[in-house]
């Protein structure tokens, strides 16, 4: 157990992660459609400010500004040849801020999805995906991250590819999926499916969980699903601060710091160990979340009704883990062929 996150997990029963990256950078003047990763080199002071936000608000862990730092995504900005550089520099700035914090702060190297559909449905082969993630992971490692942080993944194969890449570069990793479609990922993965998938991975993640998706209440329903499925590894909850609204030229998420404080305490009661925000979560939210985690007593896992009462309704009636979801009666004459 040599890495910083494993050490932290062995001594603490909750860890506060960070909040939003993209929405924060917009508020610093990043133009919509531009690559946030280019700022690691072109506007490093903004990235320092981005990282300092959660550190000063009390986060124990923050993610690097490298979410879209794989070759498939950087290609859009004609920066596919700069994967190693942009990831390394994004990590180096993170290291600098974390090491100046005066306490242990974990630097987690963010690796978002490639944006492509994996074969056979799409064109991205498993081997190519591993290669792309490995290139990014190597850059992050060179820049000194403590752990790799795979996030917002929809397809299990893509998660596996990123996990394999982490193993190849020899770094521990965490990985979260985005459950944004009727309680499942876009590709249909349920919370229970993810627990099963993660259980088979070698190397296994230090922690796994959910990020982004729709609202904070949906995310907690997913966390409950992980816990009920008998997850043995620490669970990550990184939910959005409400839903996005467009206010005076900016994206504003409607979840208040008070709501996110409730969310953080509830997330811990649901069984999460690493708790943070995603889109729209500002340092102000993080401060309120830290205070809630420090001052509120731990409780039993909340009922779905209590989650709704605190954070608002779910985006779908069920999350695909029970049999009472919507169904279609099939005639099913060609049984061997389809789902039937």
């Amino acid at each position: 157990m040599t890495d910083a996150l494993s050490r932290m997990l062995s001594t603490r029963d909750w860890i506060l992660a960070d909040g939003a990256t993209g929405t924060t950078l917009f508020n610093m003047g990043l133009s919509s459609g531009d690559s946030p990763e280019l700022w690691n080199v072109d506007a490093p002071d903004n990235i320092r400010a981005l990282y300092r936000g959660p550190v000063e608000a009390g986060s124990d862990l923050f993610l690097t500004n490298t979410f879209g730092g794989n070759a498939a995504r950087l290609k859009l900005h004609d920066a596919q040849d700069r994967v190693a550089e942009l990831n390394r520099v994004g990590a180096e700035i993170g290291r600098e801020i974390a090491d100046a914090a005066g306490r242990t702060v974990v630097v987690a190297g963010s690796m978002g999805p490639t944006g492509e559909v994996m074969a056979p449905l799409g064109t991205l082969t498993y081997a190519t995906a591993v290669q792309m993630f490995e290139e990014q992971a190597a850059g992050l490692k060179a820049g000194g991250v403590d752990v790799l942080w795979i996030e917002t993944i929809s397809a299990p194969e893509e998660y596996r590819a990123a996990a394999e890449a982490a193993g190849r570069v020899g770094l521990p990793y965490c990985g979260t999926m985005s459950f944004d479609t009727a309680g499942r990922t876009m590709m249909g993965t349920t919370s229970v499916d993810m627990v099963k998938m993660v259980g088979k991975l070698d190397p296994a993640p230090l922690a796994f969980g959910a990020n982004c998706g729709t609202g904070a209440s949906d995310l907690l329903r997913t966390v409950l699903g992980f816990a009920e499925a008998g997850a043995t590894r620490p669970i990550i909850a990184k939910g959005n601060a409400g839903i996005p609204k467009y206010v005076e030229g900016h994206i504003h998420y409607d979840g208040t710091p008070e709501v996110m404080a409730d969310y953080a305490a509830l997330a811990r009661d649901c069984g999460a160990t690493i708790i943070g925000g995603c889109c729209g979560t500002t340092p102000e939210h993080l401060r309120a979340m830290r205070e809630a985690l420090e001052t509120r007593p731990r409780g039993d896992a909340p009922s779905l009704d209590r989650i709704v009462a605190a954070l608002g309704g779910f985006s779908s009636a069920t999350d695909g883990t029970t049999d009472d979801g919507p169904k279609r009666e099939r005639r099913g004459r060609r049984r061997g062929a389809g789902a039937g």
Partner: protein
């Protein structure tokens, strides 16, 4: 497959049974069976437009509904869309020949910085299935691409898609540029993508937010009908 319970010979089915089976096969994403079914109906003298609407569009409507309701997910819908595409590739040239009615014309693309085109590809398929002419301009489009394509294609509808919170504000950049050029009201602007919602669509000045491909088709039809009423009034 080995565990198939019953071999179905499509050409043995009567028209009604065949259409029902094609809707099932579309649901299951069986491309070859759809190709065969379309060819059989053509041989039996069905008009291409009738095959399109009664078999393919009807089948995709069920797929769209079940996607909306969380019964099907992206992998199944992509398979169904591929099967639909196989059928469309036979029908498209025939439809052009027979002058089948076009409901409207649409340009669709993913905004600058966004690579995620699953959603817009589904919308393209469903819109074509519903009788729209669609020009899909792909991923990562700066505003000039949208505006030029909409002009060149003589579009009625401009569709923009974004999956990321970092790219969704760009939709407003495009709409603002259209306003500046005085062409905003020449088009019905529809927006979609996972992080969006109705309020966001309104706030950036789009005509509507469409939560999925099925809703996009319904919304587009509604707006086209309104537009026709306005023109004829």
């Amino acid at each position: 497959m080995a565990d198939e319970e019953e071999e179905i010979i499509l050409s043995d089915l009567d028209d009604a049974e065949l259409v029902e089976q094609m809707m099932d096969d579309l649901y299951d994403g069986l491309k070859d069976e759809i190709t065969e079914g379309v060819n059989i109906l053509l041989e039996r003298g069905w008009a291409p437009y009738r095959i399109l609407t009664e078999a393919l569009v009807a089948g995709m409507t069920i797929v769209g509904k079940d996607f909306r309701d969380g019964i099907l997910f992206v992998p199944e819908v992509l398979l169904a869309a591929n099967a639909m595409k196989a059928g469309m590739s036979i029908l498209k040239p025939l439809l052009a020949e027979t002058g089948a009615p076009t409901i409207g014309r649409m340009v669709i693309g993913t905004v600058k910085g966004d690579i995620h085109d699953i959603g817009q590809n589904l919308v393209t398929m469903m819109m074509e299935g519903a009788g729209f002419e669609v020009k899909n301009i792909g991923i990562n489009n700066p505003l000039e691409n949208f505006i030029e394509a909409a002009g060149e294609f003589d579009a009625d509808i401009l569709g923009m898609s974004a999956l990321l919170t970092t790219t969704m504000p760009y939709m407003k950049v495009v709409i603002d540029a259209m306003k500046e050029q005085g062409i905003r009201d020449d088009y019905i602007v529809l927006v979609g993508g996972a992080p969006l919602n109705e309020e966001f669509g309104r706030a950036i000045g789009a005509d509507a937010y469409c939560r999925d491909a099925a809703v996009a088709v319904e919304t587009a039809k509604e707006f086209m009908a309104r537009r026709h009423n306005r023109v004829s009034a």
